[in-house]
Every structure is written in C-alpha cells, then in structure tokens.
C-alpha cells in the first residue's frame, strides 16, 4: 500500500473501495465487543465461518466481526444487511439455521427476534427495536458496521474525510474556531469546553506540544470509552490528528488501561494501518503536517484518569496528581503544553469538522451540545450502551430505552457520574441530562455511567461502597483525601453494621466539607458526593440504620436475618439442598429451619424458595423468631392420611 499523498488520492481510494462493495450483497455482522465476547461470540463467529463454507456460500455472503452494538443484555447480536434483520442471543447451534433459512431462503427466524414485552410483537429490524429507536447514535452508530481491524471499512463510511478537509481547506485557527463554536464540552467528567483547552495550549509558549487521549476509563459501571476504542478506533485517531493540527502538536499519546486488552490490540492495529495509508506520520496527505501516536498502557490506578496524574504516569512514574494552579494545557507532560481529552470527546471532532459547528449546536441543550453515550446498567431490563441527545429526560432513558426495572421491582434511584457522582431519586426523573442539570441535582455527568437501582438497593450501602472504592484508589498524597475518606468509610461501615450512633451524620457532613475544600485533586474533592447526595434524598434510610438498626432495603448483611416461615414451608428441600453453608436443618416432610449460627446470609434460600410458597423471608430490625420445636416440624400430607 503506497501512502496517500493528497485529499484527491484519498477520494479515489474511497471510490475504489466502494466500487468493490455491492450494497445489496448480504453481509452478516456479529458483535464482537468485550461483553458479547464474554457470552461466547467467538464460538458463534467460528461456526458462522464454517457454515458459510459448508453450505457453499463463500464469496456470496460477507461476514464481519464488528465492535459493540450496544445492546449488551441480549448479546451475542447478529445483524444481517442490507435488510437489517437483527437476531439476539445467538448460540453456535443457531448458526446453521440462520445460514440455510435467512441467507439462502430469505426466511426470518421468529424465535431469534426481539419481542416487544408490552405488545408481544416480534421486531425484525434493528432500528425499530425500542432500545435503538429512541437513541440518536451519531458517534456510536458506526460501531456496528465496521470491522475495527479494517481501515477500508472506516474509509467506506467516509472515514478520514474530516482530516482531509481540515488539512487541505482549513487553517489551524479555523479548525480551532469551529470546535470552539461547536461548544463541545469534555466527555470525561468535568465538562470543560474542549475548544478553550485547545486554545490555551496553542497559545502556550513552547515548540513541543502534546495531545493525549484519556482512555483510562476507571469508573465502575462505565464502559463506553472501551467500546468506542475497541469498535471504531480510527474515529478517535482522526479526531486526535485534527486536534493536533489545531493545537500545533506533532506527538500524541493514547493512555489506555491494560485491563482492556482488545482495545489495546485494535488501536495498535489501527495506528499501524493509518501510518501505512498516510493518515499518520510525516507529511500527512501532502499537507506538510507531521503527527505520530504512541499507545501507553495504564497499570491499574483509578487516580490516573485525572489529568496531571495521567501525565505523570505517562512519564513512567507513579501517577500522583499535582496542584493545578497552572493548567496542564500550559504545563503538562514533561512540563510542556498538553491537551488531554476523553475518548468520546475526540470521537466527536471529525463529526464537527465534517458537518460544521452549526449542525452540532442544533443538538442538545443550551449549555450542553451534542449527544452523550451512557452505559445503562444495574437493575434495568435493557443493559447496554445508549447514545442520546443532551437534554433527554432521565425517565425516557430508563423506561423508553432501558425498558424499566426487571422483576416488577420499584425504581429507587439512578447513580450517575461514577464515584464522584451521586444518586438521583424518583421524584427527579424528569430531569434533563446535561452537565449543569446533573450537577445541580447533586450528581454529575462524569464519564457516563448510569447505574439504576431498585428497592432492594440500600443507599447507605451504596455510599459506603463508593467510599470504599475511593479509599482504595486514593493515591495518598494529600491528607484530606487519604485520611478524610478513610474516616468517612469507617463511620459508614459502622452504620451498615448496626454500630451507628447519634451524631454520625453530622460528623460525616463535617468530614465531607473538609475533603471537598481541601483535597488536591478532583478525586478527593468529589469523594463526598455519593454520601451527600444519598443523604439529601434518602436521609430516612440513614436514620433507620442508626436508630432502629434496620436496613429498609434488606441489604446490609449484619442487619438482616433469613428466616423460614414454618406456616408456609412445604418441606420441598430446595433451600436445604442449595444452601452452600449447610445451615438448613430439616428433611422430607420436615419443616426446614435455618441454623442462624451457621447461616452466612448469602441469600440462596431466599432465591430458590418457590414463589408459590414464599416461605423464606428476610427480616430486619426485629429479632428472629425462635425455631419451632422439632416435634412440631413434621408435615402430614393429606394424600398420606387417606
């Protein structure tokens, strides 16, 4: 492959690629993102390849392993183009039928389709499934159509045209102006305007400047950056190169967690291909602009998602943040001007350059423009990655796209913003998502994790969970964070264990204030958020734990007990057999009784007890009734009386 040396050559190549592709030719795309991988999409891929050969269809049908389609709950997912037939939860045994029926005979296989739970109607096309229908997938949409390892796939969808436009028809200032005008705000959490950051770096003194992709996605429950990087790495490379051109940088870094091996692999291949084709390296597309990208793997430290800590880690040292009186945009990596943006922010850049800032600002709200990808997880029917325009009400995301709460349980709260964010209760579900709106509600946008919680989730435990996470992840450099969070965790742990006392809430409040005002970086400053927001909306739960030693959600282990109601137990042996700690006494025709000393409160008995009996119960805040005497435990069946 000779390097492409001008925008005209790029267009020729694109034409050549497209001329070889028949839009009407059958193409099977299979989601091979990490989540589907975990539900064995690799085995499905092998059997699709075999089956195509076996049924003599080689050459007649294309097969493409793509990045994440987003609907992770129902993976592995197959979409057959051009009809866009969408099959869910595919197993290798379904493949022969798909090839012989759908590919050969044009018949749709009903049982593999999505069933609308409200109407029981089968939905054939991907875009008509409610999960997809209500989204606006600008950044994430191509994920399901390109093989991340193939640069031609990206080019076929118009890839690198934004780069060609920027380099050949725009000056650096014009690119910068366009991004500023688009009001694009950083998608990593803070929501700082990207254009302003770029300008600051551009104007900062120094010849050598850096642009960096922050792919150290550490928020538990958030995985959109990984899916973008895995599924469409070229869009990020293109955005980064455009940014480098605007800022005047010739060296870029991608800081990606080593826990994301597929993302590392795909982005490394993408860089190699881009260099080969001439989208990276010297004299890109004949413009005289040089730019190179290196991949740096993070070794597992949450704090490295913070800009100054990330840059210290890039230098090969322990990633500890520093005070930022001088922005990293001015003095960052090796004390040189460095622009750091999140994966999703960079992926938005080619769109803005291609379609213009005016188009971009039409989407979203007054102060939050464009779309945002959320990872909708937790107690929700349709777990997955969703991309919606800013300003969509939370309620629509959770119910229209997410399909509500499973098992008929009641919604309690949605947690956004990861460990720095907070919980938003039911009464605020009409809130429109946007940077400022979420902050006002005591949470934040963060990188886009959206964890739905139902009535079984204890809010005190959630705040304890996040503080536990942060205690572990605090780098230990400044005392308010290192010591403050630890003390908060200690108090919260006591509360969840029933050792809370009056005055704990006030003390936690005071500690929160110090951590917020005096910590060095955002990790410590925002650490009290999970506590403060849960206290704001769920104070009664804290009080029940402290005063009544009761967990209203029946979740805190030390405050609950499992108990089998002797009047309801039918001695079916289910719990007795399944109990991993052998804590259940009883036998055939003998009412089962839990030995509270042996019980580890794992909840297995509660789960396996048939709903029609409903004998296993959780109790909290009251003593466990004493077991009934052994002689009263015999059940005499009516059939035996006869």
């Amino acid at each position: 492959m000779a390097r492409i040396s001008s925008p005209a050559e790029l267009e020729e190549l694109r034409k050549a690629i497209l001329s070889k592709r028949d839009p009407n030719k059958r193409c099977i795309t299979l989601c091979s993102g990490s989540a589907c991988h975990a539900s064995s999409s690799e085995e499905v891929a092998v059997s699709i390849e075999e089956e195509i050969k076996k049924q003599g269809l080689s050459g007649e049908v294309d097969f493409r392993k793509t990045g994440c389609h987003g609907f992770c709950e129902r993976g592995p997912i197959i979409v057959i183009h051009p009809e866009e037939i969408c099959y869910l939860q595919i197993e290798p045994k379904d493949v022969p039928e798909i090839v012989s029926q759908t590919i050969k005979e044009n018949k749709v296989i009903e049982r593999l389709l999505y069933t609308d739970p409200s109407t029981n109607e089968k939905i054939i096309h991907e875009s008509e499934i409610p999960f997809y229908k209500n989204q606006q997938r600008l950044v994430f949409g191509s994920n399901g159509n390109v093989d991340p390892k193939s640069i031609d796939d990206y080019l076929a969808l118009g890839g690198y045209s934004a780069l060609a436009k920027a380099l050949s028809r725009m000056t650096c200032e014009q690119v910068l102006d366009e991004v500023k005008k688009s009001k694009l705000r950083g998608r990593g959490g803070g929501g700082f305007p990207a254009g302003r950051k770029w300008e600051e770096s551009r104007n900062a003194p120094g010849e050598i400047k850096y642009v960096i992709v922050n792919a150290d996605e550490g928020d538990p429950g958030a995985y959109m950056d990984r899916s973008l990087l895995e599924g469409n790495p070229h869009s990020i490379l293109e955005g980064l190169t455009i940014g480098a051109y605007a800022v005047g940088s010739h060296e870029g870094y991608i800081y990606v967690r080593q826990e994301y091996p597929l993302a590392v692999e795909n982005v490394t291949i993408a860089i190699r291909k881009a260099v080969e084709y001439g989208f990276l390296g010297k004299n890109i597309l004949g413009s005289g602009f040089d730019f190179n990208i290196k991949v740096h793997q993070g070794a597992g430290a949450f704090v490295c998602g913070e800009s100054s800590a990330l840059m210290t880690a890039l230098e090969g040292r322990a990633g500890e943040p520093r005070p930022k009186y001088i922005h990293t945009a001015v003095k960052g990596l090796w004390d040189r001007p460095s622009v750091l943006n999140n994966v999703e922010t960079w992926a938005n850049v080619p769109l803005i350059i291609n379609k213009g800032a005016d188009w971009f600002t039409q989407i979203g709200t007054e102060r939050s423009k464009g779309t945002k990808i959320f990872s909708l997880v937790g107690k929700i029917n349709h777990t997955g990655l969703v991309e919606v325009p800013m300003g969509m009400p939370l309620k629509d995301i959770i119910y229209k796209i997410g399909g509500g709460i499973p098992g008929g349980r009641r919604f309690k709260a949605v947690q956004t913003g990861g460990p720095s964010g907070g919980c938003i209760p039911e009464e605020l579900l009409d809130l429109e998502v946007g940077f400022d709106e979420l902050t006002k509600a005591g949470s934040m946008m963060g990188s886009g994790g959206m964890i739905v919680m139902d009535e079984d989730t204890c809010m005190v435990d959630v705040s304890r969970y996040f503080l536990d996470f942060l205690t572990d992840e605090s780098c230990g450099k400044c005392a308010p964070c290192r010591e403050g969070i630890r003390q908060m965790l200690k108090i919260l742990t006591n509360i969840t264990k029933g050792k809370g006392k009056e005055g704990d809430i006030e003390l936690l409040d005071e500690l929160s204030e110090v951590a917020r005002d005096a910590s060095l970086c955002a990790l410590g400053k925002s650490a009290p958020n999970p506590f403060l927001s849960t206290l704001r909306y769920f104070r009664d739960e804290y009080e029940a734990h402290i005063r009544e030693k009761r967990c209203p959600a029946f979740s805190c282990k030390e405050l609950i007990a499992y108990y089998i109601d002797p009047d309801k137990c039918k001695a079916c042996m289910m719990c007795l057999r399944e109990c991993p700690s052998e804590a259940i006494e009883g036998g055939k025709n003998q009412i089962h009784v839990i030995d509270q000393d042996k019980c580890t409160k794992c909840g297995t008995c509660f789960e396996v007890c048939p709903p029609r009996f409903g004998a296993a119960k959780k109790i909290s805040g009251e003593p466990v009734p004493s077991p009934i005497p052994v002689e009263a435990r015999i059940i005499v069946r009516k059939s035996k009386e006869k």
Partner: protein, 172 residues
Amino acid sequence: MLPPKVKEQAVDYGEKKIRTEAMDNDKIDQIIDKHGCEASSLIQVLLEIQSENHWLPKEVLEKVSKRLQVPLTRIQHIATFYKAFSLVPKGRHEIHICMGTACHVRGAPRVLDTVQNMIGIKPGETDLDLKFSLETVNCLGCCALGPVMEVDGKHHGRMAPAMTADVLRNCD
C-alpha cells in the same frame, strides 16, 4: 465442598520457585530492548514482565533497575502503586471478581463472600498450595452479565452464590 485452606498471605517469593524459572535473563533483556531501554518506559516494561511471568520477582526488578538506571526504590513505588503488579507468586487459577457498581447492586458481595468461604483466602491472597489466587476488580465492563466472576480469563456471568461453587469445583 473444597477443603478449607489456611488463611495465609502468599508465600515469600524466595522459597517457592514457581514460575520464576520461566523468566530467563534473555527474555527480560528482550522486553527492555523492545521499549528502547528508556527510564520513561519503566511501567510498560514491568507490565510486559508481569503478563509474561504473572508476578515480579525481586531478582527481575533488580535487573530492570540496573538496565534502565532507575533506583530500586522507585520501582518498588511503582510496583506497589499500580494494581496490575504483583510482588508475590500467583496460584494456578486466577479468580477475579468484579466489584463494579453494576455487579455490586446485583449481588457481587455475596458472590465474593461465598468464594472466600470456599477457598479460604481473601482478595489479594494466594493459597498455600498455589492453587487459587483471588482478586477483586473494579469493573470488567460486562455489566450486562453481572455479577461477573472471571476464572483464568474466562467470564462467568450472572453468578449466584451456589453457582460459584460449581465453577470452582471444576478447577483442578
């Protein structure tokens, strides 16, 4: 049920030679040279050794220190700061339990408790027979499958306490 193991922080790496012999000097040199023998590549070098050898023996760190001209104290700082590194040998089976928020609300703590009870070690530890190592991780990114347990790289989704026992019984 598996026999309970003595709770014990993993053995001192001086005594057990598990997996240390696999790491010869040439391999270390190769890794260092690949990264240009620069001090700034320290983390990348250690990551590669970790993935190759599953832990970082003292002799290896000394060698890296000499070649990259980085003081051993700084290497220790890095090896203890980042979670990816282990200064003790790992068991034959590495168990990772996802403690991400999505898994947490779906019952990951109960899964962790059951595993701890079964194999008798806490997160970060390896049992005396070097059979199991247990770690918790912050998010495996398979939130749709939560709670998730990963054993030797294979994901087991939608775990319930009783199911973990079956998975672990199949490890020898």
